[in-house]
């Protein structure tokens, strides 16, 4: 699974992207976020407020209970501010 982080999430976490294979129990977006938060304090801090997170799987916005599969590209980022 490829994970991408953008904007101030990337700055807080300290990396822009990584290849990861979460354990078998991590089956959806919500479980992935919870698992990431347990990795270290930087993730815990960056992902602390779920309402301030947006998630895209394979470059499409998804909800909290979207299922995940190996090979997915998962992007986590703050609310967008373009225009």
């Amino acid at each position: 699974m490829k994970l991408l982080y953008f904007a101030h999430l990337r700055a807080k976490i300290g990396i822009a992207e990584e290849q990861l294979d979460p354990p078998p129990g991590v089956g959806d977006v919500s479980a992935l976020i919870e698992w990431l938060k347990r990795r270290n304090t930087r993730f815990a801090e960056a992902l602390r407020e779920p309402r301030a997170l947006r998630v895209a799987v394979n470059q499409t916005y998804v909800g909290w209970h979207h299922p995940l599969k190996p090979g997915d590209e998962v992007a986590i980022f703050p609310p967008v501010t373009g225009g």
Binding site: A7, A56, Q59, F77, G83
Partner: protein, 150 residues
């Protein structure tokens, strides 16, 4: 058509190219977003726009397609820049063309409202106190919500 690019764009050239040969067009509405030199009372020296290559283009295409389905458009264009910009620089161009003005005006506003809340771009401003990330504005969500059909 949509484009995401680092380079500046020329509004005259873009609008001419958009309508060339399409003589059924009766009007073009356009919006150009510029970088301001102040935000919430703080002077801004420059701004860096980050995006998500791939998804940003897909979202802009999706938003443009939705506008084309909702209004009788004969042409449309979104050009959005990324990278470092300075006050006065152009950020975004949205243009819509139709036989009559109402569809052009409305869809142009729709595209801007949706783009601001959906397209993956993030702004980091350079202020006298150092860099700061721009927070999403609740007023942008409100502006986008009025186009919901449900």
């Amino acid at each position: 058509m949509i484009r995401v690019q680092r380079e500046d764009f020329d509004i005259g050239i873009e609008l001419s190219a958009l309508t060339r040969g399409k003589t059924g067009i009766g009007g073009v509405a356009s919006f150009v977003g510029l970088m301001r030199d102040v935000a919430d009372g703080t002077p801004i020296h420059a701004m860096t726009l980050e995006h998500y290559p791939g998804m940003t283009e897909r979202e802009l295409q999706r938003i443009e397609l939705e506008a084309q389905q909702r209004w009788p458009l004969l042409a449309s264009l979104i050009v959005h820049r990324y990278g470092r910009l300075e006050p006065g620089d152009r950020i975004v161009l949205v243009a819509t063309a139709s036989a009559h003005r109402a569809a052009a005006f409305e869809s142009c506003e729709f595209l801007m409202d949706y783009l601001k809340t959906k397209a993956p771009f993030w702004k980091q401003e350079e202020t006298p106190d150092g860099p700061r990330w721009v927070a999403a504005a609740a007023t942008d969500d409100l502006a986008a919500s009025r186009w919901r059909k449900d």
